[in-house]
């Protein structure tokens, strides 16, 4: 087991300290100390049910949308260049936080409206843009996720008419259009076939210059492909973390599989 790497404070995009989260009295996270590097892809690894998604959701306070959630400890995220707490003094308003810390879920969740409105509706509502201003950002967002050429002729078709992989890229585009500082991806390729998953993975790689990314993944292969930094969680506790070469070694000699899975 390696010591936790120390990331210099000014290149952290998010960190937690003593984070404990419980649902209905059952504690899922037992005091997580973690920090994630900015403008990198960080991958949270662990068995299912170990609290990966809960950790991810605590960064945009989405756990609070579930019944019986209690949370303690400190969480900070970098918004517009400054590390701010997500609750209490100095915290941004909840809706602002969730816009700046975008999220993409495990299975694609397009809004039940057209492809166009999936992007423009959140823009209009959260940034108080006029419809024409939102339309201007549409092409950029869809191009960024490689979707523009595939859908530009049917922007007014229902988003549900897209394939699963396209829907997931639409959700990514929707999150990116809001210009987040940090992007949370909760097993974004889990419900996709291999080809669609590969497309999404390529996109994630290309996105990290624009935005810091923290993702949850089941797949060690995916982590090896994408991760600049990896955090391993076992039963609600951080076990160890790796930089890119470290992760590759631990995968090659099988030690990661032995300790974490």
């Amino acid at each position: 087991m390696s010591e936790m790497n120390k990331i210099p404070t000014d290149s952290i995009c998010a960190c937690t300290c003593g984070l404990r989260v419980s649902f209905g009295g059952r504690e899922i996270l037992h005091g997580i100390d973690a920090s994630f590097p900015a403008n990198r892809v960080s991958v949270i690894l662990g068995r299912s049910g170990c609290g990966k998604s809960t950790l991810l959701r605590s960064l945009n306070r989405l756990n609070e949308c579930f019944d019986g959630c209690r949370s303690e400890g400190d969480i900070s995220v970098r918004i517009s260049g400054t590390l701010v707490p997500v609750t209490g003094n100095g915290a941004p308003p909840l809706t602002e936080l969730r816009r700046r810390v975008g999220m993409v879920f495990q299975s694609p969740n397009p809004l039940p409206v057209s492809i166009r409105r999936n992007i423009t509706l959140p823009l209009e509502l959260t940034l108080s843009l006029r419809r024409s201003q939102a339309e201007d950002l549409l092409e950029e967002a869809l191009t960024l996720t490689g979707l523009w050429n595939e859908v530009k002729d049917r922007l007014d078709a229902p988003a549900q008419s897209l394939s699963g992989g396209q829907q997931q890229r639409l959700c990514l585009a929707r999150a990116l259009a809001l210009k987040p500082d940090l992007l949370l991806l909760d097993e974004p390729t889990a419900s996709l076939d291999r080809v669609a998953a590969q497309k999404v993975e390529e996109m994630i790689c290309s996105l990290k210059e624009h935005v810091s990314i923290i993702m949850v993944s089941h797949s060690l292969q995916q982590a090896a492909n994408l991760a600049d930094y990896a955090l391993v969680i076992v039963e609600g506790r951080t076990l160890c973390d790796f930089d890119r070469p470290g992760l590759k070694n631990a995968l090659d000699d099988g030690s990661l599989v032995k300790i974490a899975f």
Partner: protein
């Protein structure tokens, strides 16, 4: 097990046949008795139709005033009930705490259980109390009848709104939360449109109920001869009351036939309201998903 399946499927078919037979028999009967009477004379008697429609000459024996009365009653009732019912349903489904949901829901259930004749009596008592206190010249009228009808159909609207909002997948609101939308924005732009068809279904039910209810209006302002509705504070005629009155007081076969004609027309009117609502529902659905 096989036996049970057979019995169940037989019961299913039987109830289906019963419904079809019942509705069919009723319709055929109404058409047979009512169709011969369904002509311009039934609506306008001897008054020229255009002059009757623009209220230039009164209609004495036709059902045109009752039809106009029923339509105005429906409009006022829905104007009162719709905003209240939908907002209450939205509050219950999206904003209320568990305790509020329980006791407000209880109140709505009680309201839903009130027979319409009791609601009529309530309206009558209300106007009596008002006359004795702040409104000495008050009397039963279109507005009073609409208020009582609105109370009568309110639970239907609340329940339909609440049920269709609660039936939406939880991930829809979670998605909206994750995008940084406020609760009000989520309800206004995502949940209400998605629940629209269900809510409209409730509106159709409520409109049907308000069109056909006789007991409430009988006690709160409907009369046999009032002419066209003259305002919110005037007495009015209404189709269901006309039918009830004819059935109780008819003097000869011709008048009875006109009664059947009126009944058939009321059936057609409420059916066409339902069809209109369905069309509107489809159009809304299309427009919203594209807009």
């Amino acid at each position: 097990m096989k036996m049970r399946d057979a019995v169940l499927s037989f019961l299913g078919c039987a109830s289906f046949a019963f419904v079809v037979f019942g509705a069919g028999a009723l319709t055929v009967f109404l058409f047979m008795r009512g169709l011969p009477a369904l002509d311009l004379r039934l609506f306008f008697d001897d008054t020229p139709p255009l002059q009757a429609i623009f209220a230039m000459r009164p209609v004495w024996d036709g059902i045109w005033p009752a039809m106009a009365g029923t339509l105005s009653l429906l409009v006022v009732t829905m104007l009162l009930a719709l905003p209240l019912g939908v907002s209450c349903g939205v509050y219950l489904a999206c904003f209320a705490s568990a305790r509020e949901r329980e006791w407000i829901g209880e109140c709505v259930d009680v309201l839903a259980g009130i027979p319409s004749i009791v609601m009529g009596l309530f309206g009558l008592e209300l106007i009596v109390v008002l006359r004795r206190t702040v409104l000495p010249q008050g009397t039963t009228c279109l507005l009073l009848a609409s208020v009582c009808l609105a109370l009568l159909v309110l639970p239907t609207l609340i329940a339909a709104t609440r049920a269709s909002l609660e039936a939406l997948p939880a991930r829809l609101s979670l998605t909206a939360d994750a995008l940084g939308l406020t609760k009000v924005q989520t309800v206004r732009h995502l949940l209400l449109p998605a629940a629209g068809p269900g809510i409209l279904g409730g509106v159709v039910l409520a409109m049907g109920r308000a069109t056909e209810d006789t007991a409430v209006i009988m006690l709160t302002g409907a009369v046999a001869n009032a002419g066209l509705p003259a305002g919110l504070t005037a007495k009015f005629e209404a189709l269901p009351f006309k039918i009830f009155y004819t059935a109780a007081q008819y003097t000869g076969p011709e008048e009875l036939a006109r009664g059947f004609g009126t009944a058939l027309f009321l059936l057609l009117l409420s059916e066409s309201l339902i069809v209109c609502a369905k069309l509107l529902q489809q159009r809304l659905l299309r427009r919203w998903s594209r807009a």
